[in-house]
Amino acid sequence: MSKETEHKEAGSVTGIYQELEHWNVNTGDKTIHAKRMPGFFRTVKNYTQALYLLFFLVPYLRWNGKQAILFDITHNQFHFFNLTVLPQDIWMLSLLLLLLAMVLFAVTSVASRVWCGYFCFQTAWTDWFTWIEDKIEGNPQARRKLDAAPWSAEKIWKKSLKHFIWMIISLLTGISFSIWFVDAYDYWNKLVHFQLPLVGWVTLATIFFGTYILAALLREQVCMWMCPYARIQGVMTDSQTILPAYDYTRGEPRGKLRRGSEVVAQKGDCVDCFQCVQVCPTGVDIRDGQQLGCITCGLCLDACDSIMDKVGKPRGLIRYTSLDELEGKPARKMYQHPRTWVYIGIILIAFGGIVYGLTHLGSVVLKVIPERQPLYVYLSDGSIQNKYELKILNKTDSDIRVGVTAEGGVRDQVIIGAEKPLLARHGRSTSFTIFVRAPGQNIKMEVTPIEFRIQSIDDPLIGAEYKTKFNGPSVDLGRRIISGMGNAK
């Protein structure tokens, strides 16, 4: 602090460096050992982070003898309880991503980096890892002492135990990630017998090392230097966004509280106890104002509030507030932001799209591809035959028997190849070849529209249709040829 005055005279050019002193350029050269203390936001964080238990547990959920939620990559399907989503319906995924992105934007513009502080897996895993560290190596002072101490049996034991547990969690993370994509029980079985396919091992290793490196070693460095969302979210806040902020008008001038001191009255409420810095998982000083390193986790609010309680001052020296409010400007309400409404609009559209998609999934999809070479074939009795490839996509999880009929087309046409019901295999597209044969003299157009319809034999609700065409010889010539060249026998 004294250096500050020293450089005051140094002139405007070097003045920039004074700012540098306040920048917390955390390059990871020293490990941040944050203190853990109880409080409201700590509790909230514990609950939100506990949502990740779902990540570990949900894959074991069974539904009708199969994994309830499964991103089945090998078979290109997504199973969600009764629902099977095939690649054809993947557009819904983009809507889902849009929805999630919009929720992120909206929440961020309203209440800053809620994602970072409470929901991000980087925050969550780092938090658990440091909790383990805290349990094994003790509080931050003890940890710093241990780090500095020469290697001893105790240090080796504590460090290896810590890293061992970290690795176990990393491994579990890798396994849990993998079993969202393949059958969970089958995966475990293969894993313990060392029979995973190569891609399985690579995935496991990637997530294992990823977790270990990011959550155990890099920690807040990820948020500071690597995460793109930190930057994106950083620009989405403005002076009306509420975020954890230090009330400098109330806090300054800060000063140490001295027992029996008389001058307390002239000082601000901040007692410069550094508790807010000590609890910060990214090691920033909130009193320097809003900054990139702050993931808005609210832990410094807990810390400051506990100090204010002790010194008998009102809580909220550090609190969720907007910069406008801090500056005494009239603060607009959330619903007064046009931005909020735009976000809500987009969210609703995306949500509507997903609901529409899910309710209109359809159980079967029919596609009919007419043969192009030849377009049609003359048969010996003078009739014309067209060949079609029927592709029946059956999205349900059981095989379906369907009958084929056709609307339109040529009078007295006959469908050949679908006399018996066709068996559409479940979860994929099955192809069938069928023919439509029509008397030559009934063909009135070169191209006659025809609509095929498939109908499940067992379930009247399951059906689909497809419009295509029946090709014949060109109108006049065809008719003349047929009638002129061979009179009906």
């Binding site: 140094a10 002193e21 500071m224 230097w225 074939v377 010996s380 009795d381 070849t433 060249m485 009179n487």
Partner: protein, 313 residues
């Protein structure tokens, strides 16, 4: 060497210029150093594992300890395809063509994978998808996707044709019939009503083509009473009079000079035996039979089963 930078208080490398610009000795961020080390390691491993360093002097190169070669990778890919096909192929080997046809899964496999086989061996004469080919004499080889078969359209007939080949035969009639008689017969045949002229029976056409003119599949004589002709096809771009003319001319030619008759102007109609040629395996010939059957003209073994589904028109 190093000293403190006056404003930031950090160590400098000793390189200070323009009063207060300096190289500081700050380390790059930890993640950056980790990344740098990891990529350096990656480079080394990659170079060692894969073929990498060329030796300019010997024209050789370092082969890499992983033993990777492009050919091996290709072979592995081929192996993957074979593994998928293998289980089908193994089943096909012991089955008759009719049995293959009865199995919808195998039939689908054959119709999907038979394209190349057909293209390589059959399409030159029969056209892609069996649409037939033409030369200046008319239709060169029969259309395979209609329902008219010289030697039968049942699966075993088709298979026999592929295995044993076929030789059409019809003698030249130029010395036996007068021009007028040939003309009358050709016109009747072109109309698809061979029996409309008494000459058909009188001149002994019935011996091969049958009393009703419907041919005889056992000897490969054409059905003359339908609307498919062996050496001529309707051209939809022409008017029916022109088509008729072509059909009459074509029929005249066939009657006059015969088929494979030795007459230099006779029609050539021969299909080689693929068994004798030895080019195709038994399985491949079976696959082709099913493939051809599936063009649309194949005839089921039990004719009664062909009950057509009427649409509700």
């Amino acid at each position: 060497m190093s000293e403190k930078h006056e404003a930031s208080g950090d160590q400098t490398t000793g390189h200070v210029w323009d009063d207060d610009l300096a190289d500081l000795t700050n380390e790059p961020p930890k993640w950056w150093m980790l990344g740098l080390t990891a990529s350096a390691l990656f480079v080394v491993i990659y170079w060692l594992y894969y073929p990498s360093i060329p030796f300019a002097t010997t024209g050789d190169f370092f082969k890499g300890i992983g033993g990777w070669t492009a050919i091996k990778e290709m072979e592995a890919d081929v192996g993957e395809v074979e593994a998928v096909r293998g289980k089908f192929e193994a089943r096909l080997r012991g089955m008759t063509p009719a049995a293959i046809l009865a199995d919808s899964e195998l039939t689908e496999y054959v119709t999907r994978s038979g394209k190349v086989l057909f293209g390589d061996n059959c399409a030159a004469c029969h056209g892609q998808n069996g649409i037939g080919t033409h030369d200046k004499e008319g239709l060169f080889a029969p259309i395979l996707n209609d329902d008219d078969w010289l030697y039968g359209g049942k699966i075993d007939d088709i298979h026999a044709s592929i295995e044993g080949g076929r030789q059409g035969m019809m003698m030249a009639h130029k010395d036996m019939l007068s021009a007028a008689e040939i003309d009358a017969l050709a016109n009747a045949v072109a109309k698809g009503q061979p029996t409309s002229t008494p000459l058909f029976a009188e001149k002994g056409c019935t011996a091969c083509h049958g009393e009703d003119g419907k041919g005889n599949q056992a000897m490969g004589s054409a059905n003359l009473a339908d609307k498919i002709w062996r050496f001529e096809v309707r051209n939809d771009k022409l008017s029916d009079a022109e088509n008729m003319k072509r059909l009459v001319e074509g029929s005249k030619r066939t009657i006059t000079y015969g088929v494979n008759s030795g007459d230099p102007q006779g029609r050539a109609a021969a299909m080689p035996s693929f068994k004798e040629a030895g080019k195709l395996s038994d399985t491949e010939m079976k696959k082709l039979a099913v493939y051809v059957y599936k063009f649309g003209g194949g005839q089921p073994d039990a004719p009664a089963a062909a009950a057509d589904t009427k649409t509700d028109k």
